[in-house]
Amino acid sequence: MLIKTILIANRGEIALRVIRACREMGIKTIAVFSDADKDSLHVKYADDAVNIGPALSRKSYLNIDNIIAAANKTKADAIHPGYGFLSENTGFAKACSDNNIIFIGPSAQSIAKAGDKSAARQTLSDLGIPIIPGSDNIVSSSDLACDIAARVGYPVILKAAGGGGGRGMRIARNKDELVTAFSIASGEAGVAFGNPDIYLEKYIEKPRHIEIQILGDNFGNYIHLAERECSIQLRYQKLIEESPSSFVDETFRAKLGKTAIKIAKSIGYTNAGTMEFLVDKNKNFYFMEVNARIQVEHPVTELVTGVDIVRQQILIASGQMLAIKQEDIRLNGWSMECRINATDPRDNFMPSPGQIESIIFPGGPGIRIDTHIHDKYMVTPFYDSLIGKLIVWAENRPTAINRMKRALSEFEIKGIETTIGFYQKVFENDDFQKGNIDTHFLERMK
């Protein structure tokens, strides 16, 4: 194996997820941590750990120089960026290659191409892939945003060029709203991704969010790992994901999968990635964006395909050829994930940082929990509100729903507010159970 030591440039549950894959592969792990995370589990589980700065992200987890210095000092051969933070930052990917460190993800050029909306849109429309009308470039000012909005028609949506997850994302229904939204979206994007760039799209009402997981090696081999249904969102933040989608049949899956691979090939994309689509009720689909990283919701795909995506990322980055063929991918059963967030559903999902007093985790058949929290853990206000993921597998969707309900009822976190109780209501909802969902489902349910 080319890679012997991996530095994980992230924190929380995803840092643990990568460490676990490394340990199973016999790879040495280096954690990095801010002052706020010195007692975290990722520090404890890694073979070695380096402090990279103060609590504020831009002084630690977004600090490229400190992270590269930590990798050099510990002689790491590779860096896994996780999601968020620097995972889609071309400057970081380039800094890795400049220091002869393997970046576990696509090349800096592919990340740039995936993020370069104008080039991507041109290439994709040439390939006949449907895209949503909007700005062909980064929108440099609110005046320019207003001009483009007038052309494509309101409502419009502003999105961060530097990453996803709802950060730096705002809708505007008129010019006044757009001027304010532009400044706030840019600020959020700057803090979350170290990149304040914003682009603008026409906003499509009541769509489903369906995405395709792909893997591509350095030899031009690509496969897709089917779809994830991610329509259960609030403020453009995914909360519940599942695979497969009850809306996608085999023909549609093949069509989406083929399109996703076509997009990946067009930008020379390698490693794991996700192509996000908006799908309307007539199964018209529009390509939204490439998520050039491992995603939060990757476990639902792992549970129905049996593919360890993080392990595949490491194998691909170390120069191995994909050993899995498209015909090997057969979907088995149904998987669903609830993102457990430290937010208060009874107070408009306001962040709810604080100290956890005690936790009782669910268990039993078909349950997977990816989390970094434990009794007495301090949930600080400095980072994302995601404190864990509850994932279930069962043979079909109704059984998976019953299993999730059972697991949620066992799950108890004392000391802070979480989304657990809210999910119990979602899983009782008739439309949810029938699969009648779109990205506005939760707004209607409240």
Binding site: G187, V191, M350, P381
Partner: protein, 83 residues
């Protein structure tokens, strides 16, 4: 005079910002006149920005916290003298 000040408090534990984005002009200064529903500051908690608006028109009397300082839930941030 000053007996009936109205105080804006933080709804959540987080970081206090005086502008909508780093490097941008501060939203309000002490002594400035403001209208009801004007945005006066931002709180960042868990990467989510919340705009805090004044519920009353008046004059910004005192800004009690430094830009980028950590704040606790319910901590007083800005005193407004309503008119």
């Amino acid at each position: 005079m000053g007996e009936k000040t109205y105080t804006i408090t933080s709804p959540v534990m987080g970081t206090f910002y005086r502008s909508t984005a780093p490097g941008e002009k501060f939203l309000v200064e002490e002594g400035q006149k403001i209208n009801a529903s004007d945005i006066v500051c931002m709180i960042e908690s868990m990467k989510i920005f919340t705009e805090l608006r004044s519920e009353q028109s008046g004059v910004v009397k005192k800004i009690l916290v430094e830009n980028e300082d950590p704040v606790m839930k319910n901590q007083p941030l800005i005193e407004i003298e309503p008119n």
